[in-house]
């Protein structure tokens, strides 16, 4: 058992508000919250925010099947360094997480890692979109969210049945919205840049048609629908309308969709290839505005590791996806709170980095606290993770994160703790750094360094 820990000098921020307090962690729980507390191990947090550990609704850990890209252990370490104490592992592994056996394996691998690993189950067998996966046997293992992420369930009738069945299990279905008939053979957003580059693009409507359908099916069945990685202005508007109509829908957005535009693809660097694709500047601003007004509930990374050799394939052949776990918090603070171009370092403007980073954001801004809400307790609620997302009170699970909100740093192209290095943000200067992460009462990150 680890020594008791005291986190000293932080401003404690959770869903109930913000106050100055020290926090003592003991036996995996928060043992005390108050002024001038003591414990054998002291973590200095002066000038920092102490928040409930971040929760990622959308992580690709690649194990089993693509261990050369990532493992549960390396992905969990990247997560801890990014301030996460829980991740939801996506089911597009090999084999897919479409049965209790595979779910059990992933959960087992997660138990010894430095971050809580939860599993999302597949909606259909093999994620093939033809036959419902055994959701009940996976739900019995604690799976609360199901998705065929990587592709959407194309068949309208099957999706209707899936919603109906899910309602009976009180689980949530999450959709990767992409109508295959409109997106097959494409590798980026359809628009001015795809025209110029001679690359096949998919229109925003490929996503929006499925968002529209799933809203209709949620209305029909009364089941909960969660929308993964929304990327277009039209999607945000439809989800907003569905919420206004009282439908049980939630949504997430990924950091790249509020930070980078399709202009990033100009150099044919496949690190900028992702599904859904990087969109127009207007879409990027709409996603940021959707996060600010609460239409989009959560920031989720869609952390998707790929080996260098795969990302060096021709752009149309390279696999989609980019890393996110170690960058999401800083990108959110930089873009959504400060509204600044994420690529310009005021100290060294000449070294600023990424062509195609979205311009200064002039829409509604968020506060640091609102950003943390969308990174922590909102996603924890969507995924039904009771031990995460706070509040930070005596007796609650000690899943915590200490953030220095003022520290500026430059993202490098090394990929951090991930086994892969497909980082599209290299060279960007951002604000906000994770200082300490405490998972299940253990200090797994101290002063920005992973402890194991």
């Amino acid at each position: 058992m680890t020594d008791d820990i005291v986190i000293k000098g932080a401003s404690v921020l959770d869903a109930t508000g913000e106050r100055r307090a020290d926090v003592v962690v003991s036996g995996g729980r928060v043992a005390a919250v108050g002024p001038d507390l003591y414990a054998p191990t002291v973590l200095d947090a002066s000038g920092c925010l102490l928040v409930p550990g971040l929760v990622d609704l959308h992580t690709h850990l690649r194990e089993p099947g693509r261990e050369e890209a990532e493992t549960v252990a390396t992905g969990a370490r990247a997560a801890a360094l990014g301030g996460y104490t829980a991740v939801l592992a996506m089911p597009n592994t090999t084999p897919a997480m479409d049965s209790a056996a595979v779910v059990r394996e992933v959960l087992e691998l997660g138990r010894s890692s430095v971050c809580d690993v939860h599993a999302a189950g597949a909606i259909t067998v093999g994620r093939a979109g033809e036959q419902l996966a055994p959701m009940a046997e996976m739900a019995a293992l604690g799976v609360r969210l199901f998705t065929d992420d990587g592709s959407g369930v194309q068949d309208d009738r099957l999706m209707r049945r899936a919603f109906e069945y899910a309602a009976g299990l009180d689980v949530t279905l999450a959709q990767h919205c992409e109508v295959a008939a409109l997106s097959e053979g494409t590798c980026m957003h359809e628009g001015e840049w795809s025209a110029r580059l001679g690359l096949a693009g998919q229109p925003a409507e490929a996503e929006e048609l499925m968002v529209m359908r799933d809203i209709a099916l949620a209305r029909l069945t009364g089941a909960r629908a969660h929308f993964l990685h929304l990327s277009t202005a039209g999607s945000v508007a439809m989800v907003s309308a569905a919420k206004s109509a009282g439908l049980p829908v939630t949504a997430e957005a990924a950091p790249h969709h509020f930070t980078l535009t399709d202009a990033c693809c100009a150099g044919y660097d496949a690190r900028f290839k992702v599904h859904p694709p990087l969109r127009s500047a207007a879409d990027v601003d709409a996603v940021a505005a959707g996060l600010a007004d609460g239409t989009i509930d959560a920031i989720a990374t869609d952390h998707a590791p790929h080996p260098v050799e795969d990302k060096e394939l021709p752009f149309d052949l390279a696999p989609p996806g980019m890393l996110g776990l170690e960058y999401a918090l800083a990108l959110a603070l930089t873009r959504l709170v400060d509204g600044s171009r994420a690529d310009i370092d005021p100290q060294e403007p000449e070294r600023g980095g990424v062509d195609g980073a979205a311009g200064s954001y002039v829409g509604p801004r968020m506060t640091d606290a609102e950003v943390i809400a969308r990174l922590s307790w909102r996603p924890a609620a969507i995924a039904g993770m009771r031990d995460h997302g706070g509040p930070i009170v005596t007796g609650s699970a000690a899943n915590l994160c200490v953030i220095d909100p003022l520290q500026r740093w430059r993202i490098d192209d090394g990929g951090g703790a991930s086994r892969s290095r497909n980082v599209p943000y290299a060279g960007m200067s951002v604000r906000g750094k994770v200082r300490h992460t405490i998972c299940r009462g253990e200090a797994v990150v101290v002063d920005g360094e992973a402890q194991r």
Binding site: E192, L199, Y268, F315
Partner: protein, 320 residues
């Protein structure tokens, strides 16, 4: 003489060339045409230099044209064809280029079915990279030889009305030609059904027509693109018959072209589809001239990228 802004490291896209850059290449092409008419059409300009053609997509004509161009400049040439290479064993483009580079090469001429591969290769090698066609993206030497051919006949492209007819959406020739022709002062009209257009034409200064009959009488150049049969299965056109009826250069339409209009095609032609067999033999058709000029243009490009530079040419542009 004006000089442009082209860094002359590589030739990847027409978009990187200014009008002055293009005109410089076309001026040097004049010299290379002269070389090509000599009894021994060969000069020593690139002696000791090695040019590799790296073709991941079949194109005998373009490969031979570059090969001929390099040889007329006395460069050593190597050819790396996909079927006879390690690509079939799963070697990455990067490993291939690094292997070839280790043999000591100066330039690599790249053709690939994926857009952007020449740009990727340029980021991995110190050798000069010449794009010989990448996906739907660019085929810059085609645009240069097309521009040169028009200039030879009409003196200049300034104010010319050029119609580019057909499948612009999937055409690297069209993307390159649009950029070259407009940079040189021509007015370009794209003539195609909406299904064969890129999602937007905003990047380019062109006008669009869906009716060839509407514009044919005003064209100085009628540039026909190759129509591929698989476009029908993609529901882009209902049938070849309907395409030809609406967008083919039939004898009747050819009759309505101005008398001095040029009829151009990048080859290979589908006789009876985008151009009627009978029209191919008319005087305005300059398709074989395009091919001949292709060698001279490619000599000019290789010379400017690899040679001692234009400044080394004596007055009058004579080279030995």
């Amino acid at each position: 003489m004006t000089t442009g802004t082209w860094a002359r490291r590589h030739l990847l896209s027409m978009a990187e060339l200014t009008r002055a850059d293009i005109e410089e290449i076309l001026d040097v092409t004049d010299t290379m045409v002269e070389v090509s008419t000599r009894s021994i059409p060969k000069v020593a300009a690139l002696r000791g230099r090695t040019v590799v053609s790296l073709f991941y997509e079949d194109s005998t004509r373009t490969r031979l044209s570059f090969d001929t161009a390099a040889k007329r400049l006395s460069a050593d040439t190597m050819s790396f064809a996909v079927s006879s290479s390690s690509v079939n064993k799963g070697e990455s483009v990067r490993d291939t280029i690094e292997t070839i580079e280790a043999m000591g090469i100066d330039a690599v001429v790249v053709r690939h079915r994926s857009a952007g591969v020449p740009a990727q290769i340029a980021s991995w090698t110190d050798a000069v990279v010449v794009n010989a066609g990448d996906g739907w993206h660019q085929h810059p030497t085609q645009a240069l030889l097309d521009s040169y051919t028009i200039r030879r006949h009409r003196g200049s492209l300034d104010g010319m009305h050029i119609g580019i007819v057909g499948d612009v959406k999937h055409s690297r020739v069209a993307r390159s030609d649009i950029e070259a022709f407009t940079a040189l002062g021509a007015m370009v009209t794209i003539v195609a059904p909406p299904t064969l257009l890129p999602p937007t034409l905003r990047p380019w200064d062109v006008t669009v027509s869906h009716d060839l009959d509407d514009v044919i009488a005003t064209l100085d150049v009628c540039y026909l693109l190759r129509m591929q049969r698989e476009r029908m299965t993609e529901a882009l056109v209902p049938s070849m018959r309907e395409y030809t009826a609406c967008f083919g250069l039939t004898p009747e339409r050819a009759d309505r072209l101005p008398a001095d209009a040029l009829i151009m095609h990048p080859g290979p032609m589908n006789r009876g589809v985008e151009i009627a067999g009978e029209v191919v033999d008319r005087p305005g058709v300059v398709v074989t001239e395009q091919v001949a000029n292709g060698v001279a243009v490619r000599m000019a490009v290789l010379f400017l990228l690899l040679g001692p530079g234009r400044a080394a040419l004596p007055d009058g542009g004579e080279i030995a």
